[in-house]
């Protein structure tokens, strides 16, 4: 435990310089005098200060005075062209809707396989796999630390045999799959590729996304196994392997989602995520890869929180920052490197356990922000997720929410519908500037790995999260049904995870270990261990091991033997 940090916390609020520079037009000055002043005298505003959910100050009115140096050709551009403020495709959703990709996973592989097939039958266009905590931490279902956790927060996958069941009767050649797995990402991906190969799908054509973002694990979600250095090596190994073998697969999904869920502000989410992205690019280049060869396979993942315009500004700023960084820092020549593609998920932390049906409304508004911000794919949370993993009933409403936005609201009819709004453009500029301030600060620390080792992003997030909780406790921020508008309600029916999953998994593992070629497994695991001691790309060794049905735990242990494990310095 460390002493509580005092006095070193500095949260960046870049709006002040912008505000000072406001040059009012004569007309606006006259309006302030003749219309605004009497109105305020007559009835004052509801609050002294209006802020976003991140605590970022919002002004009364936005006019051309808020865009002093703004040049539409340079700062806004056109869709499908740099700086991509208006989106990465020329026709945006007129051409193709975003991928509706609902995250799902619970119980054993056969349980999740059924949910996958149900969702595809309901018109979902891509799969997304949630793994349980033992899998995320690289333990088999029968490991002592897995007790009580098997199949609870996602599906339990301990070997290629489980993976074969998970994707049974789902053609991996036609469906794109996202896998939310980080520390053991290389191992799970190897299993996925083995299933694809067995199904006869062409690796050059299969597509999907591996989350594989270890940096945000140290920063926010904390599902790490190895120390940063070998973890980064594994990530870069997957980049290299992906460039050669699976050119359509996103080898990483650089994620702000979890950073936001841990309590960050929107600007922190944006800044830390993009700085993570730059870190991966730099490590990839250091490996000797060409930036324009591997960066097109890097994708992003952002949160879609409650504050509608702040979120839209965040997505627009993200694209602009990435383009600038790729061109200016790394001299990229490839437009596929410049265009930031992202998945988004509505904010789990915004869901309330109280009056859970209200969550449908929250989710719809958040999803609308993601769409108006130009997302490439979207997960909408289910109304019951403050309580448990979603029931089929709740998951269906969540998917229908996306379908209503896509087909009924009309927001898909034009690209970047809010482009040119004084407010949205000014906020986009300010959010971008705030993010650059953080990015430069982390540059000065020597990069993200160094910043993480100093607990810098962790501390910034903890501070923001505490500030928000205090604002909620004091009712400075209202959460409907929680600290205001409270009412009695009936408890919700939630999904119960079958307690036999752990036994089923343990038995399956016992049989697997008895039936597989024992010496071959041992030989391949020791080959992996030896390679880990050297510098070779580990993906082929991991692939060989899982194909012989070495378990997830065994493969991760082989690397634990060489790399050791990571313990964070806990800050509170």
């Amino acid at each position: 435990m460390s002493e509580r940090d005092k006095g070193t916390i500095q949260t960046i609020t870049p709006s002040e310089s912008q505000v000072r520079r406001r040059q009012l037009s004569p007309k606006e000055r006259a309006w302030e005098e003749n219309t605004l002043r009497p109105a305020l005298e007559n009835s004052p505003e509801r609050q002294v200060e209006f802020t976003t959910i991140s605590g970022y100050p919002i002004r009364r009115l936005y006019t051309p005075a808020d865009l002093p140096d703004w040049e539409p050709d340079r700062d806004l551009g056109l869709p499908g062209e740099p700086p991509y403020t208006r989106g990465i495709h020329a026709t945006m959703y007129r051409g193709r809707l975003w991928t509706m990709r609902q995250f799902a996973g619970f119980g054993a592989a056969e349980d999740t396989n059924q949910r996958f097939r149900y969702l595809l039958a309901q018109g979902q266009t891509g799969l997304s796999t949630a793994f349980d905590l033992p899998t995320l931490m690289g333990y088999d279902s029968d490991h002592p630390l897995s007790e009580g956790e098997v199949g609870k927060c996602g599906v339990a996958i301990s070997s290629l045999a489980d993976m074969e069941v998970l994707f049974d009767k789902i053609p991996l050649g036609n469906v794109t799959t996202s896998m939310t797995i980080n520390s053991p990402a290389a191992v799970i991906w190897a299993m996925y590729l083995a299933v694809a190969e067995k199904q006869g799908a062409d690796w050059k054509k299969i597509s999907g996304t591996l989350q594989n973002d270890i940096l945000k694990e140290y920063i926010a979600q904390k599902e790490y196994i190895y120390p940063p250095e070998p973890s980064m090596r594994l990530v870069i190994d997957t980049f290299e392997f992906g460039v050669k073998n699976t050119p359509k697969f996103n080898t990483i999904s650089i994620s702000g989602y979890h950073i936001r869920e841990a309590g960050s502000t929107a600007i922190q989410e944006l800044a830390f995520t993009l700085r993570d992205g730059l870190e991966y690019v730099e490590w990839g280049m250091r490996r000797g890869m060409d930036v324009d060869e591997f960066v097109p396979q890097l994708s992003f993942f952002f949160n879609a929180h409650n504050d509608f315009f702040e979120e839209i500004a965040k997505y627009r700023a993200a694209r602009r920052i990435w383009h600038k960084a790729m061109v200016e820092r790394y001299k990229s020549k490839n437009p596929r490197t410049w265009a930031l593609r992202f998945h988004s998920q509505t904010a789990g932390c915004s869901l309330t356990a109280q009056q859970p049906y209200n969550n449908v409304v929250r989710t719809a508004i958040q999803a609308l922000a993601a769409v108006m911000g130009g997302t490439q794919s979207l997960h909408t949370n289910s109304l019951d997720e403050a309580w448990a993993l979603p029931t089929e009933f709740a998951a269906t409403i969540a998917l229908r929410t996306q379908q209503i936005i896509a087909h009924e609201t009309g927001v898909t009819n034009t690209a970047d519908p809010l482009g040119g709004s004084y407010f949205v453009e000014a906020l986009t500029n300010e959010v971008e500037r705030g993010a650059w301030d953080y990015i430069e600060k982390i540059d000065a620390m020597g990069g993200m790995v160094a910043a993480i080792e100093r607990s810098y992003p962790q501390r910034e997030i903890a501070e923001a999260s505490y500030r928000y909780q205090m604002a909620v406790d004091k009712k400075e921020k209202i959460i409907v049904g929680v600290n205001d508008f409270v009412s009695e309600e009936k408890p919700l029916e939630v999904l119960q995870i079958d307690e036999t999953v752990a036994h089923r998994q343990a038995e399956r593992l016992r049989n697997l270990r008895a039936e597989r070629p024992k010496e071959e497994v041992a030989r391949r695991l020791s080959a992996l261990r030896k390679a880990a001691e050297g510098k070779e790309n580990l993906m082929p060794f991991i692939y060989d091991a899982v194909k012989a049905y070495a378990t997830l735990g065994e493969v991760c242990d082989a690397m634990r033997d060489v790399f050791g494990t990571y313990e964070e310095v806990a800050i509170t």
């Binding site: 435990m1 509580r4 905590l133 033992p134 995320l136 931490m137 333990y139 630390l145 897995s146 007790e147 009580g148 956790e149 609870k152 927060c153 694990e217 979600q221 904390k222 599902e223 790490y224 869920e261 841990a262 309590g263 932390c349 309330t352 356990a353 109280q354 403050a386 309580w387 448990a388 903890a462 999260s465 505490y466 909780q469 205090m470 909620v472 406790d473 959460i479 929680v482 600290n483 408890p491 939630v494 995870i497 313990e567 964070e568 806990a570 800050i571 509170t572």
Partner: protein, 132 residues
């Protein structure tokens, strides 16, 4: 005589790393004048029970969001009894289905705080409980 500070162990058992709640509570209790020890992540019931003895705490606060509460809580309560820590107050905060609450209370958990609880309510509960 100065009043003895209430000593609280905030623990994060199980494999889950979502520590936002644990950290906010640790800081709120500290701001309310309590002595707070945070265990860090991935503590087994054995580790938590030993830390509670070693630090001689009045209160243990467990943060559990993963659904593993039915396994972890009875194990911890058993270990605390074995170690003679019969009067320590054990609280759980996190995502706990209402249906599981009676069993947890029967196992000896003093109170369960669900999402949306204000930090002040937890501070007040601890003050009242420890005063008894």
């Amino acid at each position: 005589m100065p009043e003895k500070k209430i000593r609280v162990l905030i623990a994060k058992p199980g494999l889950d790393g979502h520590d936002r709640g644990a950290k906010v509570i640790a800081r709120a209790l500290r701001d309310a004048g309590m002595e707070v020890i945070y265990t860090g992540l991935r503590q087994t019931p054995e580790m938590i029970a030993s830390a509670a003895v070693q630090e001689d705490v009045d209160v243990i606060g467990l943060s559990i969001l993963s659904g593993a509460h039915n396994t972890i809580c009875p194990q911890l309560m058993g270990l605390l009894r074995e170690k003679g820590m019969n009067d320590v107050t054990v609280l759980v905060g996190g995502i706990i289905p209402e249906a599981d609450i009676p069993e947890l209370k029967k196992a000896g958990i003093a109170e369960i705080f669900l999402p949306g609880t204000s930090t002040q309510d937890i501070v007040d509960f601890i003050h009242k409980r420890v005063a008894q």
